[in-house]
């Protein structure tokens, strides 16, 4: 009896010790469902870099805040998204459509929101992250409710939950593609806004991305040994090269603290950056961003 008890206990102990999710230091490569190879990378480093990237709603909020009129024509057409066939394309598309959904949310375009939600749901299903995309609730909020806050909140949290799940299930390659999609689509919209009505603010958003492009490439180059990543990364390397002529100068200064009408403290750092660029630099960068985005959706 005692021997039996000890045996059962030992077996349970061995199985417990062997469980727990396997080797945390292995992250599968791109198109992980089709590709059995795995890339040995530091998951903490890459996950930290990916996690730091802006929310899919930030660029849309910036554009709306600058009082730019709404225009749907620059968004990724949902018919195009239906043709994304590899996991690589689907993850990129998921990021781009999430940025577009952010744009539609801040401009409160309910009919188009439902159309984009349906497309995102299809991509999320295919990437097996649909459990984090609360499609029915989002659709109900978009069609029946005036509660824009809830719709925006749930759209953004669904995006972050899908991204987090991909990283937790060692599909950081797909997560990296999602943030690439968000960043590229956001910058593409900024470029289109600037082409429509150029102003200093929009120009500086585009020219000021030098360090962000470096960060993004820092993530993407983890997957450089995969042909599809290599091809895409080459385009981002060319873009980074165009930023060589953009100078970002750090200027020292005194920090200021003030209080707004709701008594919230507002910190304004004295230390700031001046972005020095020519119109030629900016045009080259803009054209490259537009080209990269259009190449990515015609993969």
């Amino acid at each position: 009896m005692i021997k039996k008890l000890i045996f059962i206990f030992s077996v349970v102990l061995i199985f417990t010790a062997c469980g727990g999710g396997g080797d945390e230091n292995t992250i599968t490569g791109p198109d992980s469902q089709n590709d059995v190879r795995s890339v040995q990378i530091d998951p903490e480093k890459i996950n930290g870099l990916i996690e730091s990237f802006p929310s899919p709603i930030e660029m849309a909020a910036t554009i709306e805040d600058m009082k730019v009129p709404y225009s749907k024509k620059h968004l990724v057409a949902t018919e195009i998204a239906a043709d994304f066939d590899s996991n690589f394309d689907k993850a990129l598309g998921l990021g781009m459509l999430s940025a577009d959904l952010g744009y539609l949310n801040v401009y409160n375009r309910k009919n188009a929101i439902v159309e984009y939600l349906t497309s995102i749901k299809r991509l999320a299903d295919a990437l097996d992250v649909d459990q984090f995309f609360e499609f029915q609730t989002l659709k109900r909020l978009a069609t029946n409710s005036n509660n824009l806050d809830s719709l925006m909140f749930l759209s953004v949290t669904s995006y972050h939950d899908m991204d987090e799940h991909l990283r937790k299930t060692r599909r950081s390659d797909l997560s990296a593609l999602m943030i690439t999609g968000v960043w590229t689509e956001g910058q593409y919209l900024a470029c289109k806004v600037n082409q429509f009505k150029s102003d200093k603010k929009t120009e500086e958003i585009i020219a000021g991305q030098k360090d962000i492009v470096k960060e993004l490439l820092g993530v993407l180059e983890f997957f450089d040994d995969k042909p599809k990543f290599k091809k895409m990364n080459d385009q981002f390397r060319e873009l980074l090269k165009l930023y060589d002529t953009v100078e970002i100068k750090l200027i020292e200064g005194e920090d200021k603290i003030s209080y707004d009408q709701d008594s919230i403290p507002v910190i304004e750092p004295g230390e700031h950056t001046d972005i020095i660029y020519t119109q030629e630099d900016l045009n080259k960068i803009q054209n490259k961003i537009i080209k990269i985005r259009n190449n990515l959706i015609s993969l």
Partner: protein, 153 residues
């Protein structure tokens, strides 16, 4: 026989008991309510963490997250904790030039549970949520919210 069964039961408890690891992050409802405290600011992301009780100076206290902020944007940071913990936890904003010990700002430094930050340099910053010095006798959860107030230039 009885002694062995007790021994196995005690050993099993220490091996299998979830302990503080199982202390969950704050529930989604709390995150949503915290996001709504931002007023008209647009919710961008949250920093949801479990805070283990601080048992010694060497205990891991809280979590930090990297976050890319864009130049010219005014961001709002909000900290929410379950009732009774409001004065125990702090949210800190820092970067590589302004380390956590000398941060851009924190809820502790400015008082209250929220502050705005006008970003003057695009790049990676860090947000941490930790127990304040001398606090943290009981475990809890805490949520930080980052939201978009507007362009500032």
């Amino acid at each position: 026989m009885k002694k062995i069964a007790i021994l196995i039961a005690i050993t099993s408890f220490f091996i299998f008991a979830p302990g503080e690891q199982a202390q969950a992050q704050c529930k989604q409802q709390r995150v949503y309510h915290c996001a709504r405290k931002g007023g008209n600011a647009i919710y961008l992301r949250d920093f949801n963490t479990k805070l283990k009780a601080v048992r010694s100076e060497r205990s891991i206290n809280g979590t930090k997250w990297p976050v890319v902020l864009n130049r010219g944007t005014r961001y709002r940071f909000i900290l929410c904790t379950p009732s009774g913990y409001g004065n125990d936890v702090k949210l800190t904003l820092f970067d590589s030039k302004h380390p956590e010990t000398k941060p851009w700002n924190s809820t502790e430094k400015s008082g209250g549970d929220k502050f705005d930050f006008i970003c003057k340099r695009s790049g990676v910053y860090y947000v941490s949520i930790r127990f304040k010095q001398g606090k943290g006798k009981r475990k809890t959860c805490a949520v930080g919210i980052l939201s978009f107030v507007g362009k500032n230039q």
